[in-house]
């Protein structure tokens, strides 16, 4: 194979890798995963093959609980780590896990990540 051709193909492939990793991040924060019941805000995130929605927006300054739903989840998203809370747990394969977030402050987003580090989610507080 010609060296120049190879270099051109390589550059093309590198761009594809870039798109796979950094592009196409669906910012589907439109999903209605935040609700307030009896003065407590519940943020629900589904964990299976990643965390959905990846980015959520919730209100700041009210007591908040995070609910992680698993449904036959065996992959990395079952191994949840939330560094800012010192939380790390292997979630049950199927079920709901409730995590108390206290009263989140404005502008301090909460990040959760799976044990291996390739899935993550973010909750912004406004």
């Amino acid at each position: 194979m010609n060296k120049t051709v190879s270099i051109i193909i390589t550059l093309g492939l590198v761009i594809v890798i870039g798109i796979i990793f950094f592009g196409g991040v669906e910012n589907k924060s439109v999903e209605n995963n935040v609700e307030i019941k009896n003065g407590i805000q519940y943020v629900t995130i589904n964990a299976k093959g990643g965390y959905f929605p990846k980015i959520s927006t919730a209100k700041a300054d009210i007591p908040t609980k995070l609910i992680i739903k698993t449904n036959g989840t065996y992959d990395c998203s079952a191994a949840l780590v939330i560094r800012s809370l010192g939380f790390q747990k292997i979630l049950p394969q199927t079920g709901e896990t409730e995590i108390d977030l206290g009263i989140p402050k404005k502008g301090e987003p909460l990040q959760g990540i799976c044990g291996m580090g390739m899935y993550s989610f973010l909750i912004n507080f406004n």
């Binding site: 890798i17 065996y74 079952a78 780590v81 292997i90 580090g117």
Partner: protein, 336 residues
Amino acid sequence: MLKTYTFYVSGTHCASCKILIEDILKEQDFVKSVKVDLKKEIVEIETDSNQNTEKLATILTEKVKGSGYTLSVEKQVQEKKSDGVIWQAIPIGLVFLILFFIFQKSGILNFGIGGKTTPITSFIIGLIASVSSCLAIVGGLVLSLSAKMSQDNINDTKTFLLFHIGRIFSFALLGGILGLIGNAIGINFTFTAIMGIIASIVMLFLGLNLIGVFTKNKITLSLKIFNFFRKIEHKTFTPLIVGFGTFFLPCGFTQSMQVVALSSGSFMSGFLIMLAFALGTLPVLLLLSFGSASFAHGKHAPLFFKSAGVIVLGLGLFALLAGLAGLGIINPLFSI
């Protein structure tokens, strides 16, 4: 009468190589004096032998081959050749990486397995795990070690068997222990993340090695590590230990199964669940290790080693960044 011959030497990777080559060659009766110049990669010998130069090179190579050196009359054009190979290997490696990550992103692997976990379901979970992103770290490690061993002409079949036996046996045993004591071992996230980072560094190192960066530039810093690897590669128990170590590598599936084994309540049930899981991961890993061995002994060996090196580097980098993100050292850079 004495004649002086100059040969090109390849395979020298350390300062002590000079002494070793000189010692071996001096033992030959017909060799009167030896001088090795590592910088120029030449060996000068004085001899009273009447053989022609080619014949001498072959005879002397026989003596030093065991230590990994080759003498030749003409400077080996390998470097030029491998330059060409690397430009073929990079696109090939990248294509495999792209296919792998697209496969992960496709969500095909995310179907649920409901109900109670039995040895049969854990076998299926093992099958899924073996093509999941866990493959990036466990498979990457298997591929890099296998390719490296084949490249070094170590008895690879025996080594691979020991690795897989060690892996399956320790999974089953540790699963049994988990079921027995009902307590966590190896589930500490920070510990597994650190194990993952170590594994990814090994992968990056072996990947560079497979591509041939180290042999070309002879980075002195790497020599100690290099010798360390050379040493451990030859030991029988090393593949067993590495197989054992894969239990602690970060892989969501492994960790989930550990929890299942943990809550199973008895030695036998934990043993069977982890055994089935390990057996489920076996086909893909066997394919990786023996597949690479057959390529390594085939016609396209140099291309295979370099392509494998590119793949391993990519996976190693992925695992390293993910591991650092998992430890909270860096922000998660990507999401697949």
